[in-house]
Symmetry: C2
Amino acid sequence: MAFRTSPTNLTRLIVRPTTWQSLPNNVRHYSAPMDGSIPAAKQKYIPTSGTYPKGFLVSGTHVGVKPTNKSTPDLAFLASETPCAAAAVFTKNKFQAAPVTVSREMLKRRKNTGVRSVIINSGCANAVTGKGGLEDAEKMGAEADRCFDLPSDGKGGSTIVMSTGVIGQRLPIQKILHKIPSAYDSLGSSHDHWLATARAICTTDTFPKLVSRTFSLPSSPSIEYRMAGMTKGAGMIHPNMATLLGMIVTDAPVAPSLLPSLLTNAVNKSFNSISIDGDTSTNDTVALLANGAAGGQEITSDTSVDYASFQKTLSEFATDLAKLVVRDGEGATKFVTIRVTESPSEVGARKIASTIAKSPLVKTALYGKDANWGRILCATGYSQISEPGMPETEVSEIVPEKTSVSFIPSDGSPELKLLVNGEPESVDETRAAEILEHEDLEILIKLGGGQEEAVVWTCDFSHEYVTINGDYRT
Amino acid sequence: MAFRTSPTNLTRLIVRPTTWQSLPNNVRHYSAPMDGSIPAAKQKYIPTSGTYPKGFLVSGTHVGVKPTNKSTPDLAFLASETPCAAAAVFTKNKFQAAPVTVSREMLKRRKNTGVRSVIINSGCANAVTGKGGLEDAEKMGAEADRCFDLPSDGKGGSTIVMSTGVIGQRLPIQKILHKIPSAYDSLGSSHDHWLATARAICTTDTFPKLVSRTFSLPSSPSIEYRMAGMTKGAGMIHPNMATLLGMIVTDAPVAPSLLPSLLTNAVNKSFNSISIDGDTSTNDTVALLANGAAGGQEITSDTSVDYASFQKTLSEFATDLAKLVVRDGEGATKFVTIRVTESPSEVGARKIASTIAKSPLVKTALYGKDANWGRILCATGYSQISEPGMPETEVSEIVPEKTSVSFIPSDGSPELKLLVNGEPESVDETRAAEILEHEDLEILIKLGGGQEEAVVWTCDFSHEYVTINGDYRT
């Protein structure tokens, strides 16, 4: 045991979700939600218990990164009792925040091994902060490392650093460093610890996003493995430039060299398949840590049945987490699954689905509960448009007279056909209105030209989105 | 003179703009604006006189394509007294409306010669209407052709057909065909004729968009040539799927074979450099007609000084028209010029500018009058992002530590530097607020890596955009 303080020496539980009050659905806070502010409609997404992986300890601590934040946890600390395997997927934005650079280099230097902890602050993204910002991110990691009384293994830091919040401002680094030891002292493994930690990474989120599950692997059917994860919302908001962060941990034993591909595969089907407003931030990071604390046979080959089984579990898990981000999309009133099937290529299907998901016209129509298939078709039609001045691209995926569009109701009732093989259906508007009254909706586009498919989850575009994102800094 | 009826035999002027009343800026009609509904802030964009090309006659006539439209002109007819050269640029959307197909084939068959007229209806896009829709578009063209007592030249129709309005519905073709003869009878060349015609193509536009000018060519300095054009708004709106249509006519003599490249070049710098919501419709069409009625030496070579001079005039003219579309962007309160300079490539600069123009986060910040350069930088950084699962793209245009962002005030006062060589400036928020109070703003992004540049014009994203586009069909 390498902890300076026993993690069970907890003196306080930071928040108790059962005491959070409900508020009207349209209340959103511009920082981590304050106590008592979970919208009623979102309470169902907050777990009241969980099964958390062995050997991981977490805490959510108040620092006050934003001076206006007087009490909400804004520093999340996750520690593994033993050095563990870790991988991360980072934003491809060309303006990468300092913690992205620092964490990427750390994982590369360590070859995905020997990671001890993850330290995350909300309230400030430490993005576009120059050399000083890089130093701050390194200091955050080093201070977390110092909590573990381990001799250096000569590979430098062992902490993944993430930040989320407003861009272009330096971190109040002294305040953060000062609180890291107490964040360490507060580590624990209870459900409330996990929930407080998930809460500490929130910015414009209206609820903490935490998921846990158990699973087994074919080679060790008697061992109960566990996976837990948390994420925070996409959709970038001022004064916070909120960004997508995610962290998934498991006590299953996985060889470090396999983690990057496992995580990349999972992220492509989950976090890379959601869209709130199409903006990709400077800070987006999803990390995966596996400490093997539950024992059993290590997954060492990407052709093993254990690997395939773990990949499936991880991808499903990441999808569950990613969907929570869409559920909490800024101003969202709808959760929309866009499924493009019968495509000659998966890439083409995905491009069409993501183009529909990003179209302001489709999103406002969904907000207006309008069965406006014309806009869906229109977005489909320009999904692979060439740049101005360039010739038209050949798009084998789209053949107008083979294209069909339907709404799949979330209540299990029959689909509502809007377009069949390029011919408009006479739409029963009453039925369409019924379907669109539900929060959930699936839009199914059949291309009639192949067997590949892609799914993207998105939300609608509401007045509240404009209010949130048009709000002037105060 | 091949007109059946003298175009001077006009019995009525359809509208008089001087009698249009002003209404509050936030009033928008969901069809062509009704009499008396031009917002006060937009009246300045409506010309009170014009210089119109010789040999072109126009009319705007009420058909009632939408049953709710009881009096607003919704059929535009433009005729040339003599067969003329014509070219058009069409949408690249894979779901192309019937008039796009019909007009494209007509121009191809005619090799850009012998075009007599343009017929345009608003209120219904005739898009995704199958074979019946194609027949309707052909009938519209044929009925316009029948107005001219000319023997067939064996090349079929000679009319460009355009439609704009709701998608997926058939045209009330009999009503339209029935009114084409009276639309022909109403042809005229007065300013009021031109304005009524510009009005007839409107859907969600709050004001008609009409521009005219004179120019000369180096080889014939004594001849006054004229150019006139009209356009209707981008931004697709329900119940109308509004689309961008444009028509530019000139009495200068230009060889038919040169028109396509002249128009394409002009459109790339104008209509392809504006963005309201990033959606590219099924109907977008811009046509150019040149009848040579003013005489002088025909432009026959693309290396001549006349060609270069005409290209410059045409590009500027198209830009003036395109900017009017942005001025009337759905819900727009801002007119924003996004200029990306010092780029190694024009293509890269354009991609960055258009990505910024499309970002909902940038657009809502502009609406909120917020100097949020973080969002501008963020959009810059993901402008050339690779698809999920693909490796990061090499983007030579973007070097964070060479990137600068400024606001250029529209009142001629000094620029406000937000980011200089990747380092955030300490922004004077009072000054930023002053600059953002103006309707017009230029965002300047200097990449510090070359000499190419690109400009995109766009507007902000307001509550009213959501209201307009989330409004349920009635």
